[in-house]
């Protein structure tokens, strides 16, 4: 069926549970547009999300959607890709889901490099639990759990990904839909683990990192005349630079995917016929005589 789909075809009938003005609306909009532009098929797309306001996003994207437990979206997504390499696999979650409870899986997904796109919806707070500090919250950020100000240095997820061997590292801003859509398309097209960290403001709880604040603190790598997204040292420099938040594709590199090294060119596992017994089974026990 070659009918071309539009963004609307990736919408579900479920009404969103997000607050009016939440940055996450921009994310789902760009994602649907990207899916349509790339000619994805809902039936061949798996969308795995974590837990959080952000995690609700899988319910709003028409596909084989999975809303698992907190922090485990990446192990699920990695396995879905291994189980059926013909699927387009996208994972998404919040800064807490991905960088706090999911931090270990994040690092390992990066080094394994499965062909999965991972969208981190970063609002620098825990939205769904009503505004505690998150791994990306600023030092001194005052919340219910940090009335004296957050004492923890914010975690630089993208820098960590770069150090862990990331092959596609990008950052978008949810009020720049066009750029975000293009970035998502590039990420989905990237053969390997692609991270898109989206600055997605929480209008209800985060009164510091607002749309306005971001507009004042972001800049576009495309504006740096000689920025080379293949240069890891340069990528590290812009990522570690305090204060300024770079937007755009920060780093890309091609190395073998997890599937290519494990399943190689054998067919998608999910398609195998396991109902009829394999004649080679019996031979195995000869080793135990």
């Amino acid at each position: 069926m070659a009918t071309t789909l539009t963004a609307k075809d990736f919408a579900t009938t479920t009404p969103s549970w997000w607050c009016p003005g939440c940055g996450d609306f921009g994310v789902i909009a760009s994602l649907k547009q990207a899916a349509a532009d790339m000619g994805l098929r809902p039936k061949d797309t798996a969308f795995i999300s974590g837990i959080g306001c952000s995690g609700k996003i899988s319910g709003y994207f028409h596909s084989y959607a999975f809303h698992g437990v907190h922090g485990r979206a990446l192990p699920v997504a990695t396995a879905v890709k291994l189980a059926n390499k013909d699927l387009t696999v996208i994972a998404a979650g919040g800064d807490g889901d991905g960088y706090a409870i999911g931090a270990g899986h994040f690092m390992h997904a990066v080094r394994r490099n499965p062909d999965v796109t991972y969208i981190v919806m970063d609002n620098q707070t825990y939205g769904l639990t009503k505004g505690q500090s998150s791994p990306t919250s600023a030092l001194g950020y005052v919340t219910g759990t940090s009335p004296g100000g957050n004492p923890d240095e914010p975690l630089n997820g993208l820098a960590v990904a770069l150090a862990a061997g990331g092959t596609f590292i990008a950052r978008a801003f949810s009020s720049e839909p066009k750029a975000m859509t293009e970035m998502m398309k590039a990420a989905i097209a990237h053969p390997g683990f692609a991270i898109v960290e989206v600055m997605s403001p929480c209008v209800t709880f985060n009164k510091i990192n607002t749309y306005k604040w971001f507009k004042e603190n972001v800049y576009h790598l495309s504006d740096l005349p000689d920025y080379d997204s293949k240069n890891r040292a340069q990528a590290f420099e812009v990522l570690m630079q305090p204060g300024k938040i770079p937007l755009g594709i920060i780093y890309t590199e091609i190395r073998p995917t997890l599937e290519s090294l494990t399943i190689k060119d054998s067919p998608a596992i999910a398609g195998l016929d396991i109902e009829t017994a394999n004649p080679r089974y019996a031979a195995i026990q000869e080793a135990y005589r």
């Binding site: 437990v69 699920v76 291994l82 596992i269």
Partner: protein
Amino acid sequence: MILNNVEVMFGGQAGDGSLTTGDLIAGVFKHMGLEVYTYKDFPSRIRGGHTNYVIRAGETPNYGMADYVDGLVAFDLEAVEKHIDEIRPGGFIIFDNSHDTLTDAVRRPGVHYYEVPLAKIAKEEIGLELVRNTVSLGVLSRLIGMDEETVFGDVRAVYQRKGDKVVDLNIRAIQAGEKYVDDHFERPSGYGLTKGVDGDRLIMMGNDAISYGALVAGCRFMAGYPITPATDVLEWMAKYAPKYGGVVVQAEDELSAINMVIGASFAGVRAMTSTSGPGQALMTEAIGLAGVLEIPLVVIECARAGPSTGMPTKTEQSNLNHLIFSGHGEIPRVVIAPGTVEESFYLTATAFNIAEKYQLPVFVLSEQALCQSKATLPSLDVASVTVDRGKLERNGHLTFGEYRRFAFTEDGVSPRAVPGTEGGMYLAAGSEHNDHGVITEDARNRAKMMEKRMRKLETMRPELPKANVLGDRSARTAIIGYGSNRGPIAEAQDRLALAGTPTRFLQMRTLWPFPEDEVRDFIAGADHIFVVENNFTGQLERLIRYVVGPLPNMHAVLKYNGKPFRPVEIIDAVASVVAGAAAPRPVGA
């Protein structure tokens, strides 16, 4: 003279190669036509520390150790000190006196001591101290009368891939051992072996059988994290699954492993993981997710002695409560427990059918004394294994909007679509959802959904593995147990019967959903009921109580020191109560 029935123990330091020799001897016994069971007792370290390997052979299958050791091959004094009181009166010890010397403290009347400078012989005559194990094999072979041809044949087979030099070295080592016996001792009258036919049999570990069963059942995805004694399964699958189009992932931890398994199953692949206590504990949250998502999966639990790190290489059955009751909220789940290596194969295959037909997590529960023990068994009938994927909608064409992933059905099972299927798109959410999969907190829907999920526990009952009933069904003394205790209990039964106390034994194979009728029927009319298990609190006995209440004549026979039961311990416990004791004492306490 005890013919064709011997239990040999190799005792030395971990990593000294006695495992290889032990396996070799187990093979020899099998090839001589005997039934074999082995038990590994090693420390949680790689080199050094006392370790011992028990190899038992007999004319009929024994799924456990005997009461006593017939012959101990001791590479150091510590081995003798640790095990001297396990030697059967009339038994013998082959002692390597190259470095240590026997003390009076370890001398017992009725025990024959054969002092042989194993290491010295290995070093001086063969030129390689390492082969002292093989020298000891020669000594043992001569003393109990192994078939020389078989021994040499097996040695060749085992060392072949290391080249002719190594083979030759080991053959000479054996001959040196034999010669030493001929020169110094006469063969003990106590033991003898006759060579029979091996026949259509295998010898493998419980973990081999579990893995093989999973592969044959169509398991094509496994994710796991190494942990003793479950790592064998991960390694077996890593070796074989790719040859059948599957994939095996060593995850970064068990949280990742179990979530990967859920992901693979969501995508339509038969998937499993294997772990032990600590890893199982970490999987708790995700098991609840699988339950509410109605995702089929199989978890192999190879239990070890807890709590916490506990004694990682020792056996225990203290994980049953966890498998049944852990997790917040309530989900349907299944726990089945093989009692032999053979059952480990067939029940694991069954586990996958139950998991997929009822769309829930199924635990296959084994423990160190079974999963890492080798035993002889009839060749496995792979052709008898069938694959039933239940209500799986694959590559079909569903009508989106009409299709309900979580449809309320009579049997509680709903049609399961997997990615790639036209029209089957849905949201698999760990939050409560309606029949379409849409998240809702509606109270009425919630109640219905809980009932639908839990209903599966009832509709599946007819398909769950039935218990084995052994012994005299009309006996007034009843014994209940599962897993590795099948062996010692069955053996205790025979001798209790001879001693005038016939017994009936319910070897449970489904532990959850709890087979209430099975147990109720079994214990009906018993004067005494003994529940034999390797834990402190009597976890199985507790489950039985729940069904029948605290019966004054029901007793838990418990052992929680990390060692499996020996038949005599069960016999004593039963006898003491039959003789009037209020309750049996914990064993080894």
